[in-house]
Symmetry: C2
Subunit: 199 residues, 2 copies
């Protein structure tokens, strides 16, 4: 058990992989590159991980978890539908801006529809959107929102919160926005979304 003295070699390998995958992309990174980047042999990586893909898998799992926490909070947490959706929005915008290379690592498998992780990630995304939709539906029933299509609204909210994260992941800090600030971004999205589905 690694107790002190910094991160274990296993974790260092994962950190190097995250950095390289995030910068160059999975396919463009050789296992030897990762090895060199953290000063170990290629073989050691295979000692710790079964294959190259399992490295990606570990990263995706870790990255997903970061976002899933906020989703669970929004779906099952306390507060009115509006409060919960707002909490979700602010949390995702903040996380997306804070973890650019994670976002990039998450985006990549999605653009490879036949890849092994694509289905898994898609399932997670669907689950998130369905969760949002059910909160929106709850709000509609309570008379808090106008009677829109909950699924469509959820999808739009999801798209909105990810737009800034995507811009960050693309190394385009200010695609259009004059100021890149978590609060400003989230405020605007909240305003846009809730005025759109207001009664």
């Amino acid at each position: 058990m690694p107790e002190s003295g910094g991160p274990s070699t296993r974790e260092r390998i994962l950190a190097c992989a995250e950095d390289l995958f995030g910068r160059k992309g999975y396919d463009a990174v050789a296992v030897a590159d990762i090895a060199q980047s953290c000063g170990v042999s290629t073989a050691l990586i295979y000692y710790h991980y079964t294959d190259k893909e399992s490295l990606l898998h570990a990263l995706v799992d870790r990255a997903s978890e970061v976002f899933d926490v906020h989703t669970r909070d929004a779906l099952a947490g306390e507060g009115s539908p509006r409060e919960r959706l707002e909490r979700f929005t602010r949390a995702w915008v903040a996380e997306g801006l804070a973890h650019e290379s994670l976002v990039r690592i998450l985006v990549r498998p999605l653009s490879d529809p036949e890849g092994p992780l694509s289905a898994e990630l898609l399932a997670r995304i669907s689950h998130t959107i369905e969760g949002l939709a059910s909160v929106i539906a709850e709000g509609i029933e309570a008379g808090e929102f106008a009677p829109v299509d909950p699924g469509l609204a959820a999808e739009c909210l999801f798209g909105l919160v990810n737009t800034r994260a995507a811009a960050g992941a693309l190394n385009a800090p200010h695609l259009g926005a004059a100021v890149v600030d978590v609060k400003v971004n989230a405020d605007f999205i909240v305003r846009l979304f809730f005025s759109g589905i207001a009664r």
Copy 2:
């Protein structure tokens, strides 16, 4: 010059590349796969195109052009700011839903920040968003919209119109939406966006 008798071999190669790149992804497709898929030799592809990347480049150019046409129309065309933005929105939603594999081909280079096409595509996207921002700014000055940050609003609109396209490109026809219909989608986005920036 090929005049009749179907598409030229050159174009057939490009079509096969589009299909395969769209389904499996650039890196997962070997030049030999493309050759086999349209019944020619590998060498012929190198006779018509300088290298594998130039195939992707040709596809990206073609795909970008499809969207750029609507952008120019929205920016320089006739009508009030709101009318032009609405035209842009409806056109992009429709194109995105109609050309899924093109969207997927456009997404991939973006997720590879150090790739050669990334910068080019990013420039196109920035240009589109800046164009939207200037139309929004125009609308604000005319008192048509509330005084929001034009760049931020443009980015959000861009994110909204691309959300559905992305969902389609991910082979997830109904991520959250109960009905996948161009008009329903565009109507909702229009509603969301313009009520959000209404005075």
